[in-house]
Symmetry: C2
Subunit: 329 residues, 2 copies
């Protein structure tokens, strides 16, 4: 790397093209400004020849906004959120936007981190995680556009795009009921708020079935494993289980296996999320797929158009039937 060489600037391009620096900007920003075809061609040729790329910091400073959008997720290592980040990258790219991931797993004191995040003059933030009041205050102070995705409820003051969790959970449980299951357990977060638990319960009530056991678990595979082992103790009582995430379900599969439970022979298992890897568990996991692609696409569009009218929009989930569910024997 030649430390003597300076980066190419707009002025270099202007000089080579024989125009003023302003004209270079006019051409490159695609502004309304009329530019003669000849000048445009010379600018483009000079850009190409010099390998010029506008300095993002300078552009951000003068525009008051960068081309960066922040994605806040509970844990970027979770395949569901890693997939969301990848899809968001894709959607953002189409709008010339770059995605910065902030994983809550790394958020020490949430506030501090959001501050770090918004010190970049972000074009906007898409949050798949709940924000604390302090965090919300920070985004407001920075007047950073904020869109929520994957939320259990509408977030006051902000557009909120979410999977229809209740209907998705019902899809899972109705599938099990149709197969003939009568005692269906639920594994999920201890939070009373989870609409997946509500959907599970509704489906049972509607079918006139008794509420099965509820096993509380955190979101990790480890916790799913423990829940699976606990569920194995009740194998006489239960023939199926609906887990609130594919991570939990994957762990539960391992926990059940470790206790000698046959799946789906003894117990059928359904997950939630529709992550790709769940197709390669053993047996392949039946799961409710979240419409992440549509949500991320729409979230980016809201940020791009600047339409931040508070609203709540539901996206339907779909059932992916694989090999972890079968009629009870």
């Amino acid at each position: 790397m030649d430390p003597g060489r300076k980066a190419v600037t707009r002025a270099d391009v202007a000089r080579l093209a024989g125009v003023s620096p302003a004209v270079v900007s006019y051409v490159l920003t695609g502004s309304e400004r009329p530019v003669s075809a000849a000048a445009r061609a010379r600018v483009l040729a000079a850009v190409d020849q010099l390998g010029y790329r506008p300095n993002a910091a300078a552009r951000a400073l003068s525009r008051g906004r960068s081309s960066l959008i922040g994605l806040i997720v509970p844990d970027q290592r979770n395949p569901f959120f890693a997939g969301m980040a990848s899809l968001l990258d894709h959607a953002a790219r189409a709008q010339q936007l770059t995605v910065l991931i902030l994983s809550a797993h790394e958020r020490r004191s949430g506030v501090e981190e959001i501050e770090g995040l918004t010190a970049q003059p972000l074009e906007g933030i898409i949050s798949a995680d709940a924000l604390t009041p302090q965090e919300l205050r920070v985004t407001e102070r920075g007047r950073t556009p904020l869109v929520f995705v994957n939320q259990f409820r509408a977030q006051p003051g902000h557009p909120t795009l979410s999977t229809d969790y209740v209907a998705g959970a019902r899809l899972a449980v109705e599938h099990l009921i149709t197969l003939g299951h009568r005692r269906i357990a639920f594994i999920g977060s201890a939070s009373q708020l989870d609409p997946r638990e509500a959907g599970w319960r509704q489906a049972l009530v509607d079918a006139g079935l008794p509420g099965g056991p509820v096993l509380h678990s955190e979101w990790s595979v480890e916790d799913g494993y423990r829940a699976g082992q606990q569920l194995a103790e009740r194998r006489e009582e239960v023939t199926a289980v609906f887990a609130a995430s594919d991570q939990i379900a994957t762990g539960a599969l391992a926990g059940l296996h470790s206790r000698g439970v046959d799946i789906p022979g003894d117990i059928s298992v359904v997950g939630f999320d529709g992550t790709p890897d769940a197709a390669y568990t053993w047996p392949a996991l039946t799961s409710v797929s979240q419409p992440v692609e549509e949500m991320t696409r729409d979230a980016v569009a809201l940020l791009a158009t600047g339409d931040l009218t508070p609203m709540f929009r539901d996206y339907p989930a779909t059932l992916l039937v694989r090999d972890s569910t079968a009629p009870p024997r």
Copy 2:
């Protein structure tokens, strides 16, 4: 969001603290500049009261470098690289750095994307993926510091930190040999360059064993699944397999299961990477763990100190013995 309110700037802080804007910078940048205790206290109080955070774009512009580092990975959805990103986040945070992920999966034409990446005046790039000559040229043109991690060989002109793949592969194969296996297959990339294949072969030769079958596969779980099915055809001939990644191994597990192969009874399986989820496959996967934490920590340190002397450093891998390996029967 109150569109009438402007972001707090350094000038606001200076005004409230009764000092010049320069003094605010002196205090906040922690520069050598001496500042009286009284002035410092007033500045800090004003910062706190106003909730001031320096504008990152302005700072990047005047310093010529942002506090952003880029991480280039083949696919951010792969748990191994998602984990690396998370660890890097952690290491970077300690140096006040923010990580921008560029997933090759999203790189349309590599060049174009790297250009987009370095248009941000990055503090540096850490690449866990090979770069094309064009891409290298772009980083050089931008004089962006570049450190490679997870490479098969030294990258000329840049520091390269890598797992000792050969020794890691030997660890896996020697474990199988010690268990009593004599016919050990390899599943991995068709690339002749993979040192894991070399390590596998060396271990067999050293033990006086014949080279087992080699099944070529891409890096996805899907491909591992197909390889597992192919391997099932040769179950009479082979009693163990070493896969070049946990993703491949996880797929292979499913592919073997789908053909009725018992693991580890019929065939023992070892993976490579040491990703957390591999502890919850069925059976739990024995794997060679890469020292990602050390590598990312050191890579960030190189970027932070600016020491980019070309060099190659090997990090030892470790074996995690779980339940997918057992003596042949």
